[in-house]
Amino acid sequence: MSIVFPPKPPVLPVDPGRTQQPAMVKLNNGIPVYMIEAGTEDVMRIDFTFDAGQAQEYLPLLASTTNTMLTEGSLHYSSSELNKILDFHGAFYNLYAEKDRAGFTIFFINRYIEKILELAGEIAIQPLFHEAELKALMKKRLQLYLVNREKVNNLAMEHFFESIFGNHHPYGRQIVPEDFENMNPPLLKDFHAANYTPGKLAIIISGKIHMRTLDLLNRHFGENFASDVYIEESLNFLKESKNRRNHIKKPGAVQTAVRIGCPTINKCHPDYPGLKILNVILGGYFNSRLMKNIREDKGLTYGVHSMVSSLILSGFNIISTEVSKKSTQKAVDEIYFEIERLQNEPVEKEELEIVRNYMLGEMVRMFDGPFALAESFRSVWEFGLDTSYYDRLIKKIRTITPDEITTLAGTYYNIENLHEIKAG
């Protein structure tokens, strides 16, 4: 059975190359259009992204409901007509309402561009917010909400956000069933008029860009679409909860969901690239310390992950896992143990080398193909950054030292600052 294999092949350094800033042109009314020309198929992806996320809402659900209602009927098309036509042309769309931004991304085959962009204009600018459609939608969404509340994951996540951002800001506010009754067409129309405006819109295009794209965008978005000026005064404020520990009881749950983390810096801060690297070591990839310890060494969980995420007004780091009830404390202890180890012991050269190469490989994947490029661009653009952020990140991946990592762990994972939320 013993066969002689060739010797281990050499490993070459991974080079993600330099990132390219997409070309930008403005429509007649000033809407910026970013163009990423890439790919081999005759298809496009267009992201219509508005500064219309939850951060803009003064009532829970306002941003997400306005967004979901975009495809529920417009000036010239009923909701079923809109969907029939989009389906007929094989177009796929995602509506999204995130903490900061909202809008929709549409994927289509280039030969249908004319119809697709006409409908995109209808969806973004001319929705009607019919009462009957709204009522039906709220019923469905309430039901979905009730199902999600049964998941310990969701429960823990919502309480975590409330704990780190407070209930006076949409970043942290929890939804209650009564919120679903508060939505009505005038509220949504008002939110739409104030937030789905040319001044709050950017269009990000990627794929094999059709030659008529800009003409058509000007026709449907660049004319007769102007901003009324709304003066906004936000009463929302971020405030961490004083009580950093909470256990939401869910009788009968087989596992307990754990979330540990705190508010932190976002992408605009010079320490952020280093923090990203620290996060990978801790729990950001399959070979992370948390995975090795809690899953691969002790078998306590199917998965344990950590993440650092950026929002416009803040950022947060979070460690998440699901464990059996009897092992919950053990897993939590091990999470703190791993954080302290990063604060006290410099990372070995070999481990750091693995993380460097893995992350450089990830960067290659993040820039591979038109859709990945568009995502990567959007996630720096929304913070007012350009793709030079990635050049800084790549440089930091190559040069970070074990001592820097120890310092970052001490600064950004101070155990006294961490919130610990459990559900189960």
Partner: protein
């Protein structure tokens, strides 16, 4: 058009390479023709357990992940009823590292007791997390044994009972490896920034010396024809009732597969699907509803599932589903609707193939079912399907006597 070269090594390993110069990456996919179907009824979940063990290293290279990560790679795997599939993407310049790693673990895995013990615990947590601790998470676990009485599709990939995993010992694991993880029972596909010549010569270099081994024969009891409706009712702590229905169909390789794929798309594809339009939008009986046809090697299923709106009687909901289905049986689908579902297929096919990993997986699967050319030709098959064929397929398969139905009821809400 996806061009590819196909080559078979002396030991039976089939290699397919598709070059795509638009990416700096290469994807490697290795499909082992072993899934939960190949398990003994008393030891289910073994194929999936084995997938976990494959990352535990070998005597020669104890740390698979470390080397792959050093080469900038990312990998994962999945197990289903028919196959276990391992895949990697990494920068093209380091592709040989994956050859080194994958050929080593195909040749001989290390079966350490410690690795086995840990992965059993991990899988129990996986079972808890994915099936037991999710609302409706056990629905498919309940549906399978209702639908299949003797065929091994009657148990799920995670295992029929978690005790089976607990009882798996070194010897059983070793036996599973030697009878399934062989070059002559697997397919290697490479897509991305690599020439066909290099892909094939590297395959020869790294996999060529691995010995051919005897593969356990695939003779499974064929499922008897179902002749009367089957029903199972359960109550669970969930906020709303849910309805699950499954009808027997043919295998992935039968011509009907494509017709049924379009049929289920007419029923539930996109927001304009008939079930969504009639039962969610118009009648407001369901909050969501979906239908699809499975891609199983042995005769598979059409599965339909939906969550009911509050206070809707589940039998009424079921009857309404059949009303929609009956319309399809009695009148031909309009031309524009047929064109819509064909366009939707074409579009999703184009988008799927913008990704090298999808191309690698699809090529491997098409090779498995005997026709890699399908990666380019399926579009033409779909184009030939007309509304008569859809109507006939609806009549042939979507009969109540061919259906297994699961009423998944919200506890505390008694039947009226």
């Amino acid at each position: 058009m996806i061009d590819y070269s196909r080559y078979t090594l002396d030991n039976g390993l089939r290699v397919l390479v598709h070059e795509d110069r638009s990416t700096p990456l290469v994807a490697m996919n290795i499909l082992y023709y072993a899934g939960s179907r190949d398990e003994e009824p008393g030891l289910t979940g073994l194929a999936h357990l084995f997938e976990h063990l494959m990352f535990g290293g070998t005597a020669r290279i104890p740390d698979f992940d470390r080397h792959l990560l050093l080469a900038g790679g990312e990998n994962n795997a999945f197990t289903n009823t028919d196959i276990t599939d391992y895949y990697v993407t990494l920068p093209a310049e380091n592709i040989e590292t994956v050859f080194w790693l994958e050929s080593d673990r195909m040749n001989l895995l290390d079966f350490s007791q410690r690795n086995l013990d840990i992965q059993k615990k991990v899988i129990i947590e996986e079972f808890n997390q994915r099936y037991l601790n999710q609302p409706y998470g056990d629905a498919m676990l309940l549906l399978r044994p209702l639908v299949y009485k003797i065929h091994p599709y009657r148990w799920p990939t995670i295992g029929m009972d978690i005790s089976h995993i607990m009882n798996a010992d070194q010897e059983k694991v070793r036996e599973f490896f030697f009878s399934h993880y062989t070059p002559n029972n697997s397919i290697l596909t490479l897509t991305g920034n690599i020439t066909c010549g290099r892909g094939i010569s590297l395959s020869e270099k790294w996999f060529g010396k691995i010995e051919k081994r005897a593969v356990k024969s695939k003779t499974f009891p064929s499922e008897p024809v179902q002749t009367e409706a089957r029903v199972l009712t359960v109550e669970r702590e969930v906020p709303a009732d849910a309805l699950y229905m499954a009808w027997h169909t043919g295998p992935r390789t039968s011509d009907d597969f494509y017709t049924l794929d379009l049929l289920t798309d007419i029923l539930s594809g996109g927001e304009s699907g008939r079930l969504y339009t009639k039962l969610v939008r118009q009648k407001k009986l369901f909050s969501e509803i979906n239908a699809y046809v499975t891609s199983d090697i042995d005769p598979g299923l059409i599965i339909l599932y939906g969550k009911l709106m509050k206070d809707v009687d589940i039998r009424h909901a079921e009857e309404s589903v059949y009303e929609v289905i009956d319309t399809l049986k009695h009148s031909c689908s309009p031309r524009r609707e047929m064109e819509k579902v064909r366009n939707r297929y074409e579009s999703s096919n184009v988008f799927t193939n913008t990704n090298i990993l999808n191309k690698a997986m699809n090529l491997a699967f098409f090779e498995l079912i005997g026709n890699p050319g399908l990666i380019n030709n399926e579009v033409d098959i779909y184009k030939k399907i007309d509304s008569m064929m859809v109507t006939e397929a609806a009549r042939k398969y979507l009969d109540p006597s061919n259906c297994s139905t699961l009423y998944y009821k919200s506890a505390g809400k008694r039947q009226k």
